[in-house]
């Protein structure tokens, strides 16, 4: 077995496993178990003894049991369990590579891994891995074909591989463009857990933001359709109830919104005034829609939206599948509000804080002034720090922050301010979202990271909700430009490959159709084209399926000998002889003698009979002889009588 073939199998197995690893969804023991792959392939390259079929089978069955346990108990997700199992199988298979069939199994397994990975990740790296994989797979297939035919020693591998890869690429692109995409996701559940975020659920434990403020993972990229001056507060959800250790959302007034002309209208808006943000979201484990306040309309691939009375917008179901949505926000709009009991709710034993609030705000001024005073006070007298310590026993977190440690991050500031405002009788709530982000000049969009997660305050002043941010500003370090270039590439990937939608298809068809429209012909309408494409696609698919099924039903697995014999028969047919299925090799010999074919035919048929019905061993040399004879017969360069 040539070293090239060996190494390609090894690299394919590795590629498959790596593609799963980059998704970040695999659990550690499986990854460690997958390391046996290196041992297996090392042994394979050293031509050590391979595991017996029995051992491999036992291991595979054990892996199946582990898979069941995994799917039912450990991860509880069949999809991920399958992914884990493929890694395990690759590990097992690396010790059991005896026949070409085993190699084929490795290829198939890698393909499966790639498919699973494509479901789990949206990363640009995956795109690169995919291309590498495809080239390797084609090479491996071509190689294994030649290996089976025993002509490996004399092939030029480069040309067929490059041609097939090119064709595959072209076909893939065409399919990618043409295959209609469902405008809705019918299978909404994603198996990726997504990036773990914080602060966007119905209950947020105090201090949760702290761990994430250091995380530089990109959460979303935002394009805006016009220049908007900072600050950017991408509002997520508001919380109303605080019990001293966690914030909770207790609103019961959630309304479901349905689509009207392609978007969800939350409030009537004037198109000239709104700013549109196209948000490309990395898969995160939250279902909240973010946007600059105040969001008036959303465009997203979903059936409905849920909006609560604090303008928190969520998508029913998980978000980690959906990768882009557009939000239209009217930044100048004011949002009206009513005094409600829950916006004045207080945890117990907050007297000390309330008296502090009174002393800061001073009596007699308006609510707005009081709030501003509190905001300024918090900004100036406290230190922003992510390294907070636990409060001493018997002291609440806020008390510790305000009177004792005087160090904290956005949650401390915002929670303190809400409690103080409520102590002064001003209804207020905490809002979690993202703040800031960095502008990427290559592509002109905002990059928002985990570390941009933020909490701020909204207070009801004169019947309107107004935003206050008591957290002092922190200097951001500017990342190097190269990372921006890479990031903009990622955005393109997300935008044009992962998020390629039916709208984009429409656009392509439109440009194509407009260049083909002739005068006098009716204008091509997209819906018409789409119907044609859909039907064509469906028909092709059905006929392909039927063809495949019929092939499978009629499929006989011929060995090399029979295949070449059938080729020989075909050759005689092409030379104009009447060949029937009831003819034996002896009959064919007579026939070819009568038609002036030479000793080659006789030798070929003798070989065939001895290998097909006798117990002669095949060797590579014999395979080559077969091929040679056929070639001679084909070209007519044979010994004549």
């Amino acid at each position: 077995m040539p070293i090239l073939y060996k190494s390609i199998t090894a690299v394919l197995a590795l590629t498959g496993c790596v593609s799963l690893l980059i998704t970040g969804e695999m659990n550690l023991p499986v990854c460690v178990g997958g390391l046996t792959l290196f041992v297996g392939y090392y042994r394979f390259f050293r031509d050590r003894a391979q595991a017996s079929k029995r051992v491999a089978a036992i291991l595979a069955q054990a892996a199946l049991f582990v898979f069941l346990a995994d799917a039912l108990i450990i991860t509880g997700d069949v999809f991920l369990a399958v992914a884990h199992m493929t890694i395990t199988f690759q590990g097992i298979k690396s010790f059991d590579l005896k026949e070409p069939w085993d190699h084929l199994q490795v290829y198939f397994m890698s393909l499966l891994q790639l498919i699973i990975a494509s479901e789990l990740t949206r990363a640009l790296t995956f795109g690169v891995i995919f291309v590498v994989f495809m080239v390797l797979l084609v090479t491996a297939m071509v190689l294994s074909h030649f290996l089976k035919e025993g002509t490996l020693g004399r092939v030029r591998i480069r040309r067929p591989v490059s041609v097939i890869v090119m064709l595959t690429m072209i076909c893939t692109t065409i399919f990618f463009m043409v295959i209609p995409r469902a405008p809705q996701r019918f299978i909404g559940k994603s198996h990726a857990h997504g990036i773990k975020t914080v602060g966007f659920s119905d209950k947020v434990d105090f201090g949760a933001f702290g761990d994430f403020k250091l995380d530089q993972t990109v959460v979303m990229r935002i394009e805006m359709d016009r220049e908007v001056r900072p600050p950017y507060y991408f509002r997520g959800i508001a919380m109303d109830t605080f019990d001293g250790t966690s914030w909770r959302n207790t609103t019961k007034q959630i309304s479901r919104i349905l689509k009207t002309d392609n978007e969800f209208i939350i409030a009537p808006y004037d198109r000239a005034r709104v700013v549109e943000q196209r948000i490309y979201l990395e898969p995160i484990d939250s279902d909240v829609i973010f946007g600059l306040a105040r969001v008036t309309a959303v465009t997203a691939d979903t059936f409905s939206l849920l909006v609560d009375d604090a303008q928190g917008i969520t998508i029913p179901g998980k978000l980690s599948r959906r990768i882009k949505y557009a939000v239209r926000s009217d930044m100048a709009a004011v949002s009206q509000g009513r005094r409600e009991e829950r916006y004045l709710q207080m945890p117990r034993r907050m007297e000390k804080i309330i008296s502090l609030a009174r002393s800061i705000s001073g009596a007699g001024s308006s609510d707005a002034e009081k709030a501003s005073a509190l905001e300024t006070y918090l900004k100036r007298n406290y230190l922003y720090s992510l390294s907070t310590t636990l409060p001493p026993a018997g002291m609440s977190v806020l008390e510790d922050f305000l009177f004792n440690s005087k160090k904290g991050f956005c949650e401390h500031y915002a929670s303190s301010m809400v409690v103080m405002l409520r102590g002064l009788g001003i209804p207020s709530r905490i809002v979690n979202g993202f703040y800031g982000g960095e502008r990427n000049e290559y592509g002109n969009y905002l990059i928002v990271r985990q570390s941009d997660a933020h909490a701020w305050v909204e207070a009801l002043i004169d019947g309107q909700w107004r935003r206050f941010d008591p957290t002092p500003a922190v200097a951001q370090q500017k990342p190097p430009a190269l990372s921006h270039v890479l990031d903009s590439l990622r955005l393109q990937w997300t935008r044009y490959v992962v998020g390629f939608s039916s709208d984009d298809q429409k656009e392509i068809v439109r440009t194509l159709a407009s260049s083909f429209t002739l005068k006098g012909l009716p204008r091509l309408r997209f819906s018409m084209i789409k119907t044609v494409i859909l039907w064509a696609f469906a028909l092709t698919l059905v006929s392909l399926l039927l063809y495949a099924v019929s092939r499978i039903l009629r499929f006989k697995r011929y060995g090399f000998v029979t295949r070449t014999y059938l080729e020989f028969r075909e050759l005689l047919r092409r030379k104009g002889m009447r060949v029937t299925d009831a003819m034996t090799a002896g009959d064919l010999l007579k026939l070819s003698r009568n038609n002036g074919l030479g000793d080659e035919a006789e030798e070929f048929l003798m070989l065939y009979e001895s290998h097909r019905f006798g117990s002669c061993e095949m060797s590579d040399a014999v395979r080559l002889r077969y091929r040679d004879l056929l070639k001679k017969l084909r070209s007519g360069k044979f010994t004549c009588y």
Binding site: Y565, A582, G586, D587, G614
Partner: protein, 307 residues
Amino acid sequence: MQNPLIKQLQSAVESVIRGKSDAIAMAIVTLLGRGNLLIEDVPGVGKTTLAYALAKATDCAFQRIQFTSDMMPSDIIGVSIYNPESREFEFKAGPLFANIVLADEINRTSPRTQSALLEAMNERKITVDRQTLMLPDPFMVIATQNPVEYYGTFPLPESQLDRFMMQIRLGYPELEHEKRAVTDQSGFALIERLRPVVTKADILKMQEAVDAVMVEEAVMDYLMQIITGTRNDDRIRLGCSTRGAQFLLKAAKAHAYYAGRDFIVPDDVKRLAPCVIGHRLILKSRKGISDAEDVVRDMVERIAVPV
């Protein structure tokens, strides 16, 4: 590689009876497959010469029995005669006790004698006066019958015909060969000068080698397809028996060995099917055996050969 012994045997017999290489090959195949041969043909085309030449070339004891309607079984098996000196019955062996027996005009004799012969043929032994005597090894009966004269004959019933491995016809030789046969000295003078080229021990060894010939599954399936085909053909009233199938396999093995292979190929089966199966069938329209051969030939041309 064809066994050189077989080559020599073939050429030795061919030197006596020219232009009949196919028939000679079939006779040799029958000998190798431990079978018996039935030759159906008109008188004077060399049936006897063929049998005799084969016997001479193989260093085998040869006996010819000319069957007539008044023959008794004891005439071919032998009789026990009282010997007054030893005061015992002594068995005088009949002409059957030879390696190659030519049973001429087998259909002229009564069924009683026919069945005695065929019994012996099948059992390879005979029982006389409560003692069992083995026939010599190798043992082969070459029976002939004349298809033209039916007057005063007892045609062999199918059950008896079934016991012959194959049935061949010699037919008239081609003009070239016949001319030479007529002008040259007669066949018997040639036979007298024939030297044995193969010993009996060689024959036995070759018969054992035939048993060891390999049979591939697909070829076996093909063979069975032919056998069952005879039972489902609507021109045939009675198809091939299981014994017929056994004979066909055996003959195919012998033919493979004859051709110098240690495995059988579909070609062996296909070539032998007409002469091995033909005489076992009963057609719906009462016609001769040769028609049955044509039916088989036609049938195998429709059965797909394993590739």
